[in-house]
């Protein structure tokens, strides 16, 4: 009764508002809000100097560079190949297309640890692919990148597919009648329409890669300063009972994740506007 009297904007005949919202708020608070605020409140116990010391040691800085760098490059590769995969799946016909379309979601469904050991085996020096390569992939920063490519693969494809399906074919015909060749039509007509969705997919893949742990730790080799990702560093600190240090680094990563979430929301709003305008 209290909830409906103070929060409801309109009178309604439907029942269950107090119970449903009350339970939702309680559950969100217990599972998400209180535990997440614990990370921030714990960090406030540190002085500013202590916080800086914990989050800017050379080893931590090296882990940021690797995590952000590899995530960025993995998202970039996914943006490029994701666009091709989405394009091919929407526009062309070829055998086993349905099956391949379904398997795009595999990285969502396959547990990260399973993906991790499989990728490590393949890209090891005696592995299925690794033995043909002149350089090492498993147990190097390159391995981190490979794992992050796998994890981020569905995001770009799944964000682009519905947008590509909605691209107005009449615009393309108009471009052709005005003398544009296919490449010009793509770069000047199609690409501007799908660009916001492409950026959204890129940002989603990047955000997912930043926090990824399971698939990376098997293939990375986890050498401090070289191939150690930030999430692993948090676990290492925890195992040394350095709770304050682990939490401080976690807060840095949380802030980065929340900023990205905001960017993604803005991108999605932009994408909707761009699509709605056509």
């Amino acid at each position: 009764m209290i909830l409906s009297r103070s929060l409801l904007k309109r009178h309604t005949v439907l029942p269950g508002f107090d119970l449903a919202l009350g339970f939702s708020l309680l559950y969100v608070s217990l599972i998400v809000l209180i535990p997440l605020s614990a990370a921030f409140l714990r960090t406030f116990e540190l002085t500013w100097q202590q916080f800086l010391d914990a989050t800017t040691t050379p080893r931590v800085l090296a882990s940021y560079r690797l995590t952000f760098g590899a995530s960025f490059l993995a998202a970039l590769l996914n943006a490029f190949f994701g666009l091709i995969v989405a394009w091919v799946l929407v526009r062309y016909r070829f055998p086993a297309k349905r099956l391949i379309d379904e398997l795009v979601d595999l990285p969502f469904a396959l547990p990260t640890a399973v993906a991790g050991i499989a990728l490590t085996a393949i890209y090891a020096q005696n592995g299925f692919i690794g033995k043909w390569l002149p350089f090492k992939v498993s147990y190097t920063p390159l391995g981190v990148w490979v794992a992050l490519v796998f994890i981020g693969l569905p995001f770009v494809v799944r964000t682009l597919q519905p947008v590509l399906e909605d691209v107005n074919r009449e615009l393309e015909e108009a471009a052709a009648t005005l003398g544009a060749n296919r490449w010009q039509t793509f770069t000047k007509v199609i690409f501007p329409v799908v660009m916001p969705a492409l950026l959204t997919g890129f940002a989603l893949a990047f955000a997912r890669a930043l926090g990824e742990y399971g698939s990376v730790i098997f293939i990375a080799g986890n050498m401090p300063m070289v191939s150690e990702i930030t999430p692993l560093l948090i676990i290492t600190k925890l195992e040394q009972y350095d709770y304050a240090g682990a939490t401080a680094i976690a807060v840095v990563m949380l802030v980065a994740a929340f900023v990205l979430l905001l960017v993604i929301n803005l991108l999605q709003a932009w994408a909707r506007k761009r699509q709605g305008g056509l």
């Binding site: 005949v13 599972i31 799946l89 547990p111 640890a113 296919r182 999430p231």
Partner: protein, 313 residues
């Protein structure tokens, strides 16, 4: 491009009168203007398939190949040893406990968000999405900060002889957190689109809350609900990072399947690690199949609905 003299365009593009518009000369080379030449299509399809083979199909095949490389006996032994069985059991327990919790929450959240207009709605929506952007490792860490020995309730829990971290409750909590948004996010957009007229009509006709839900709302959302449950279930079974932080890795007690895989793998028992992995990979494939079946059902239903709409007009 257009050089205009006194407002008259001089560059006239010839427009063929008969549709479809074709370019590229005559005879067999004629093709639709809104698609690419054959060789470009072939090239793009090859690139897409090569990329997916390298990053998706080969890893998937590797799991099963490595699992059976040393024979069926090794495989069976690996998945029936006591530690593996207890890991399978714990994974099932964690899944069976966390999916229904998130199911009830998903229904409650979707009901309040889509059927009512209230202050703070967008804040609640943001909070529901939040766990997706939190690293699994941090998801584990925050529960250690609340329930761990040095955490907010650590001493109280110890005094009452209760264990959350390094025990099953912590594993369930971490799993609930990482799978938190799945069901709610499937339900909210669908129920938003469906509106409230049907429920209101049922109410006016005298149905109580439970009847409205069971007879009106539930039939409308059952496929989306099942879809959400399947995604939630897949993630719950495979979660690694968050569970790894809160589990304590006690063999035979607090190891889930992904954690068991890690331990066995780090002991260089690769065939055994891949054997247990193959179970999870198989369940991932089942997930994809079920997902596909539901998507087809929903498409079918939508087509049926729009046909009904046509008739009504």
């Amino acid at each position: 491009m257009n050089t205009t003299t006194s407002g008259v365009s001089t560059s006239v593009v010839p427009i063929p009168l008969a549709a479809p518009i074709t370019v590229g000369g005559s005879g067999r080379a004629r093709r639709n203007a809104t698609t690419e030449p054959r060789w470009v299509q072939g090239l793009l399809i090859s690139i897409a398939l090569a990329f997916m083979t390298l990053f998706l199909f080969v890893p998937l095949a590797t799991v099963f190949f490595e699992a059976f490389k040393k024979g069926v006996d090794v495989y069976v032994a690996a998945i029936t040893e006591p530690d593996a069985l207890s890991a399978i059991k714990l994974t099932l327990i964690a899944t069976v406990m966390s999916v229904p919790l998130n199911l009830v929450f998903g229904l409650a959240a979707a009901w309040s968000i889509t059927k009512f207009d209230f202050r703070g709605k967008s804040l609640l929506l943001t909070l529901i999405d939040l766990p997706f952007s939190v690293s699994p490792v941090i998801a584990g860490l925050i529960f250690v900060l609340v329930f761990g020995l040095q955490g907010w309730f650590g001493e109280w829990l110890r005094d009452h002889d209760l264990k959350v971290i390094f025990a099953v409750p912590g594993i369930v909590l971490a799993t609930v957190f990482v799978t938190f948004p799945f069901i709610a996010r499937e339900l909210i957009p669908l129920m938003q689109a469906q509106g409230i007229e049907q429920e209101e009509a049922a109410r006016v006709l005298g149905a109580d809350g439970w009847q409205i839900f069971r007879r009106v709302t539930l039939p409308n959302i059952k496929w989306a609900l099942l879809y959400g449950v399947i995604l939630c279930n897949a993630r719950a079974m495979g979660e690694f990072g968050a569970v790894s932080v809160v589990s304590g890795h006690i063999r035979g007690q607090t190891n889930t399947m992904p954690l068991h895989i890690e331990i066995v793998y780090n002991e260089y028992q690769f065939a055994a690690a891949f054997a247990v992995s193959s179970l999870l990979a198989a369940s991932a494939l089942v997930t994809l199949v079920l997902k596909y079946v539901i998507e087809q059902r929903v498409k079918h239903q939508k087509r049926g609905n729009s046909e009904l709409g046509e008739h009504a007009r």
